[in-house]
């Protein structure tokens, strides 16, 4: 697994310099509203994470990797480790450039203080969970269907999720990111921090395990 992760790092090495300035540049748009900052952040983190997760397909190297001495289960596990790590990195970058935006435009990001704030534990956790959810849904599609059909399949699911979100917003449910942060903050209030965070972490681990099992089952059946 180490070799696979190092491979991805080596493949990304020529592009590392793009990541931070790219994030800062795009996140400047976040000054429009905290919601905008959140969703631009998710889009950036997701594109980084998806870019990493699909790197072998995009280089048309899946058969090359399959010819190396590494089994398919390890390949999938390494992909999840890499993608979740990328999600964590995306979240860290979100906090960094969010702080930069606040520093430059202190009046624009008054997205509450305390528990519901964009940079509260709940705000950051929701950001990471949304990014992780994208990857946990995407990877099984890729491993079952390959890059092109997998992206299409994921696209349909994403469109359906967007449609639901839009209908919730239009029916007065409020901005989705804010609603998620508020829900998590309410959970922490009601259940206590230990129970709430343990539940969130356990749910994430179970979902990751299920998604990985699904991906492994798909990839082990696939012929390259």
């Amino acid at each position: 697994m180490k070799a696979l992760i190092r491979k991805d790092l080596r493949l990304l090495a020529p592009y590392w310099w793009l990541i931070l300035p790219g994030h800062v540049l795009f996140s400047a748009n976040g000054v429009i509203s905290p919601e905008f900052l959140f969703w631009i952040g998710v889009a950036l983190a997701a594109s980084f994470t998806v870019g990493l997760a699909t790197i072998d397909w995009r280089f048309d190297a899946d058969r090359f990797v399959a010819a190396l001495p590494v089994d398919r289960v390890t390949q999938v596990r390494a992909r999840y480790v890499g993608a979740i790590s990328a999600g964590i990195l995306g979240t860290v970058l979100y906090v960094i450039y969010g702080s930069l935006v606040v520093a430059v435009f202190p009046a624009r990001l008054g997205w509450a203080d305390g528990a519901g704030a964009w940079n509260s534990a709940e705000g950051i956790a929701v950001f990471f969970l949304v990014t992780a959810a994208l990857i946990l849904v995407l990877l099984p599609f890729l491993y079952w269907l390959g890059l092109v059909r997998g992206i299409w399949g994921f696209g349909f699911v994403a469109l359906a999720a967007m449609a639901v979100t839009i209908s919730l917003v239009s029916s007065g449910g409020g901005a989705p990111s804010r609603a998620l942060v508020d829900a998590l903050a309410a959970l922490v209030d009601n259940q206590g921090a230990a129970v709430a965070w343990t539940s969130v972490l356990a749910s994430l681990m179970v979902l990751t395990w299920l998604s990985a099992r699904l991906s492994i089952a798909g990839f082990c059946r696939r012929e390259l």
């Binding site: 491979k7 399959a66 010819a67 001495p69």
Partner: protein
């Protein structure tokens, strides 16, 4: 004889190719060439050997194991150059070496560096900036630097100029000289096979129509070229193929002695080239 690769009665429907009852064996320390036109099943066969796809029927044993089950261990002993010799072409030669080295516990860095020097590969140049020949060389250096016992090459000479093809084939001969390593390569160029292969496998439409030692074929087989009277030879046991020619018929025999009686003043007996065998054997006009 120690057989590194055994392919037994393989069947596989894949893409537009359907391999049907394909069998052959590759002993240690030898070179085997798989020849066939586009779509004959060469790449499908290589994918099966590397464990990328699974056979519908039959069995493959590499180092005595099933590549579908023990793929990781098997592939650690295989060096490969795929039809697209280099992936990740945005990386430099040196970076690609480091990337691949991580996967092999017995990677020999000094051997890799020696091969780069021998092949005159510039370490800092991106793979995308290398010519097709240089990419094949790089693929070969990556495949050879971990002491592979079996080298699998998918059409390595396609698109190469004759000088480099000859150099590459010479290199393959050198690889097996120690008696430890075997080479399996696919090609559409029969002269490549004639030049270096110990064993030949001819594929057409997914079926093997010849498999065996190349020298047996070239030494023992014969072709008789003559007039229309040669049509009478068609029923002979030793006849493996017959084709109309401008003079009359070309008849392929798998036994030189059996061919001699058909050779009179109006016909000539020749040793066949692999081109002759490939064209005559299993062709539509063959018996």
């Amino acid at each position: 004889m120690d057989e590194l690769l055994v392919v037994e009665r393989i069947q596989k429907a894949w893409d537009v190719v359907a391999l049907d009852d394909v069998s052959f064996r590759l002993p240690r320390g030898h070179i085997m060439g798989i020849a066939g036109p586009n779509g004959s099943g060469k790449t499908t066969l290589i994918r099966l050997i590397l464990g990328h796809i699974r056979p519908d029927g039959g069995a493959i044993r590499v180092f005595g194991e099933d590549p579908g089950v023990c793929g990781r261990d098997i592939r650690s002993r295989i060096g490969f150059v795929l039809d697209r010799p280099i992936s990740y072409e945005h990386l430099s030669v040196a970076r690609l070496g480091r990337l691949v080295a991580d996967f092999y516990s017995d990677w020999d860095e000094s051997e890799f560096q020696r091969l780069l020097d021998e092949f005159e590969l510039p370490r800092q140049r991106r793979a995308s900036a290398l010519s097709r020949g240089m990419r094949v060389k790089l693929g070969l250096a990556l495949a050879l630097a971990h002491n592979a016992e079996l080298l699998v090459l998918d059409e390595p000479t396609t698109g190469l100029d004759p000088v480099f093809r000859r150099e590459l084939l010479g290199r393959l001969s050198a690889i097996i000289s120690g008696g430890r390593t075997s080479v399996l390569f696919s090609t559409q160029i029969l002269t490549d096979l004639e030049r270096v292969a110990d064993f030949a496998v001819f594929l057409r439409n997914g079926r093997v129509f010849f498999s065996g030692p190349k020298d047996d074929l070239l030494d023992r087989w014969a072709i008789v070229r003559g007039g229309p009277e040669l049509a009478a030879a068609a029923g002979a046991d030793a006849v493996r193929g017959i084709r109309k020619s401008r003079m009359g018929f070309d008849v392929l025999f798998d036994d030189m002695d059996a061919a001699r009686p058909y050779c009179d003043g109006s016909s000539v007996l020749e040793r066949p080239t692999l081109d002759d065998v490939f064209l005559l054997l299993g062709s539509k006009e063959s018996q």
